[in-house]
Symmetry: C2
Subunit: 201 residues, 2 copies
DNA sequence: CTTTTTTCTTAAACTATCTTAAGGTCTTTT
DNA sequence: AAAAGACCTTAAGATAGTTTAAGAAAAAAG
């Protein structure tokens, strides 16, 4: 039925497996839930969102790896988030207010995602109120993680931030080039390289 | 009826005014809503939460000013959030999982707050589902603000972070000692002082 | 298998920020 | 009014992190 990559059915089941961590859905609810998402396949380096555009979707990553990053006027850029399997990503501000995005999101690997539009998300909240609970819970977790990151950036020196990253995202640190990790951690790739050398002794 | 400070009735009305930005409540719902909160008065320097304790409440600030901060083993500390009128604060991770808090929260000025326990908040979501929408929206906004702060910390030098802070929180910057602001911005008070001198020219 | 491109490392000079230590101002307490 | 405590400023020396530039290694493309 489907030779290259996963079938859409399999994608839906990973989204439902994810949802089941937070809420219980009946067969019927589950079908409605996934029906509101559309599947999209991204090649390496393909954009999911470009700064200036309006972010129309909340995106669930089925497999692969995305990065969300911010480009400064000077041209230098900073990675705000990596998103691998079972993560959500978007420019939440842009999605929420339907205003131009400040983040770019593109694929570091070939990636499958499921996307839901704002109108459909609002519809979903209305039809199946407990889904709103799920999103509130997800957001709570994301908020806590962001807060921890702020604390780490404030008080940990570069080496400790790197070690914390390795521990927290072992899955990501092996798939993503070091320069990207350096950008996420707020340091230059050269300095990260030095840190790694020092760690080897 | 109440000579010193505001009456509890007035406090409730500022909470309801806040809620009305997000959702419409009937008279009856509004009464139930505020009935789940308890009022608390804090003296300057009094603790609302100490690291190690479990954060039992989500806290709404009616007036005054709180700070949430993280203390490192070395003894140095970092301010994670200021909370003035109409802000919410807590150690969300501790509140959510009912695990020991890592944040301290205390008052920089005499402060009035309204607090809701986790069980009551869950009850509230159940009784008046649209309140869950309100908290989801609040959380979304807070998440966006945190993300912006991460971006700023990653890419802006100290002076620009200070200027951005002044612009974003004019209300806070005039009430709070500079050393506290320096801590929030992730720099030493001495360095902030230098920045301010340079700005005067 | 060779070439090209991307990624990683090294090192020296440079810059932003921190540390320490001292003195000054303002506010609160006695 | 004097003393004490909190807060702010200044400046010199120390450190963490950046910049630049070059070469090595690895991965992708032909």
């Amino acid at each position: 039925m489907c030779i290259l990559g996963q079938s859409v059915l399999l994608m839906h089941s990973s989204l439902l497996a994810y949802a089941s961590r937070y809420i219980d859905l009946t067969q019927e609810e589950a079908e409605y839930f996934v029906s509101l998402f559309r599947h999209r396949k991204l090649l390496k380096r393909q954009f999911l969102l470009q700064a200036g555009d309006i972010c129309r979707y909340e995106t669930f990553v089925v497999n692969g790896c995305l990065r969300a990053y911010f480009v400064e006027p000077s041209g230098s850029f900073h990675i705000v988030q990596f998103a691998v399997e079972d993560w959500w990503t978007s420019d939440l501000n842009s999605f929420w207010n339907q205003t131009p995005a400040i983040l770019n999101i593109d694929a570091l690997e070939p990636t499958d995602v499921l996307q839901i539009e704002k109108e459909n998300l609002d519809r979903l909240y209305k039809e199946i109120p407990k889904t709103e609970r799920m999103f509130r819970m997800m957001l709570t977790k994301a908020f806590i993680a962001h807060q921890q990151r702020i604390i780490d950036n404030l008080c940990k020196p570069a080496m400790e931030r790197y070690l914390a990253f390795l521990e927290k995202y072992p899955n990501i640190s092996q798939r993503v080039p070091q320069a990207q990790i350096a950008s996420y951690l707020g340091m230059t790739p050269e300095f990260l390289s030095q840190i790694r050398r020092n760690l080897m002794r």
